[in-house]
Symmetry: C2
Subunit: 338 residues, 2 copies
DNA sequence: GTGAAAGCGCTAACAC
DNA sequence: GTGTTAGCGCTTTCAC
């Protein structure tokens, strides 16, 4: 940040420079850039010419400071990798920069220690909104965000009471629906292979509860550490079969796990869906193409991202949002594996 | 951004408020927060107490404006989805916020039109560095970044002359190495299934050139549009076999394509690797687990991200970097499919 | 070790 | 439609 675009004397180009060259006042330059319709055509033209000549790029830090509008939105996800949140983040970025906002990303990861520092860094930039995914917010964190008066959208999870706004679906409803789906297909000895994260756990719990309600024997549940891998799926099926030989269905907390289960089943000569039904979660790119194609739960991440962006932009404009809690629901995509 | 954390009179908490409560001057508050060692222990304690009491969060816009240090790094990727860049972005975010920097993400997507607006938004925030991936920069874009004097790291591609710094590998070297690998395995009728993006195209070109040099018959090449899918892989193999029945190896520009080829081969009863060798690119999470396990090219995205962060931080500190061009190379992971 | 004054670059508020 | 003045909240500079 030492050397920048320069005028003759080696300083950064500012509104003042542009104003001098265009022979107008600085404020006219500002208006020409931010509200061209409030400036006379010829002043506008002179400014635009001067901007081009000097290569002037407005300092958004200064503008944001003065106007208290940062044009910044912050998103916090547990981790950017993991295909789950990608669609959402992409849609968020797209929707935002269509309207001239930028996205700041933070990873809460699995360490709570730096959550506080992350929050400082975010709040300190005075974003017009924060998109929170899944995790976090210690009681203290919630208080601080609230105190800062920044609109917050919590995503992916409608289960607990939201701080402010929320876009997502009910993990409980997913777990229940999956169990009922398998039941509807005539499966009776069902198992769950689940990653050890909170939301997967809630789906699993709801699945088990539904099984009980349906009069099924208690599902065998195998937990694997996150992030879940294909190898976990292979080992997982092996273990599940060890614990329950009569198994006729496995519900997996991710498509990658499900792919592992399919792979292991194939290796063992277990027919899918003949003797074993397999269902995943996420509808990843490969789900439709594998053999047998994978029945899975689809979440419309793109819609989540777009909706979150809209909510925040609406609030930033000072308007009230009609629906501060949006349920995007989910769908079970029936394919060959179940 | 209307209401914020408040003191009694309903205004945002600022250094001045904290200073008053701690009975020191504003500058001492600033120092207590940014350089605690230059402040006496008791002043420090009083400030910390006052900060906690008021819930003060420094306005980074103001600080950045005055000090010309934004603590912001911008990254531009074609698209955030697509598993390829994930590791890099994650490592980048991690490395940055360990040092107290945040990442601003922009997607250049496939539309060049808004590239200019994106650049304005980025430069306008005065980031201490920009990480560019793959695409973009019109001649004009390059000039503007250069003019802004912001350090730039181009990633993933060492082939063309860099604007400033670069971390990546040579796509040509990959194409060549893959061809030689297959040749070394005794394959003679080789084909390429490649996505239509620039970098994949360069790998393909190098592959074809290597084949010629090795005295192989010209490889059959099939192009598919990006982003590549598993289905493209299945159709791709079908088409390649139509064009060349004696095929004994396929090099794919992504693991997803390769998975599609494996799937289609399996469906057709074509033995892999027996009569057909398959090699991918990316080493995605499923590559090791599928049957047969997928031989593929691994790129250390995490290292790319970490290195890029280091380069930028070093430059931001005003130091010279030793190596402004880092080749992280690549490796072919030999597995069962080839 | 601490403070007073000044100003980063912009735009809100109020003239005219 | 345009300009003047002031000030957003912080930190640099210089003085003590």
């Amino acid at each position: 940040m030492r050397k920048k675009a320069k005028t003759r004397e080696g300083k950064t180009v500012t509104v003042v420079d542009v104003a001098r060259i265009a022979r107008v006042s600085p404020i006219t330059v500002s208006r020409a850039l931010n509200a061209p319709e409030r400036v006379s055509p010829k002043a506008l033209e002179r400014v635009q010419k001067a901007v081009k000549r000097t290569g002037y790029v407005p300092n958004l830090l200064a503008g944001g400071l003065r106007s208290a509008k940062s044009r910044l939105v912050a998103a916090v996800v547990p981790t950017i990798s993991g295909p789950v949140f990608q669609g959402m983040i992409q849609a968020l970025t797209d929707a935002l920069d269509e309207r001239g906002y930028q996205l700041l990303v933070g990873q809460s990861g699995y360490k709570t220690s730096r959550e506080d520092a992350l929050l400082d860094a975010i709040i300190g930039r005075r974003p017009i909104g924060i998109v929170l995914t899944g995790m976090m917010h210690s009681a203290d964190g919630r208080r601080r965000i609230l105190a800062a008066g920044i609109p917050v959208v919590e995503t992916w999870d409608l289960s607990k009471p939201a701080i402010d706004m929320a876009v997502g679906f009910s993990h409980e409803a997913v777990g229940e629906a999956v169990c009922e789906y398998l039941f509807g297909k005539g499966r009776r000895r069902v198992a769950v292979l689940s990653g050890e994260d909170e939301r997967a756990a809630r789906r699993t719990k709801a699945f088990v509860a539904a099984a009980e309600r349906l009069g099924l024997p208690p599902p065998v549940v195998k937990w694997v550490s996150v992030p879940t891998t294909l190898a976990d799926g292979r080992e997982g099926l092996a273990e599940l079969l060890r614990r329950e030989t009569a198994l006729d269905a496995v519900s997996c907390s991710s498509d990658l796990l499900a792919l592992g289960v399919l792979t292991e089943a194939h290796a063992r000569g277990v027919a899918v869906p003949g003797s074993l039904a397999v269902i995943g979660f996420g509808n990843l790119p490969f789900a439709a193409g594998v053999i047998p194609s994978l029945t899975t739960v689809h979440i419309d991440g793109v819609r989540i991202g777009r909706t979150a962006a809209e909510l925040i932009i609406t609030r930033a404009a000072g308007e009230k949002v009609k629906h501060s809690h949006v349920d995007v629901s989910f769908s079970i995509i029936p394919r060959d594996s179940a």
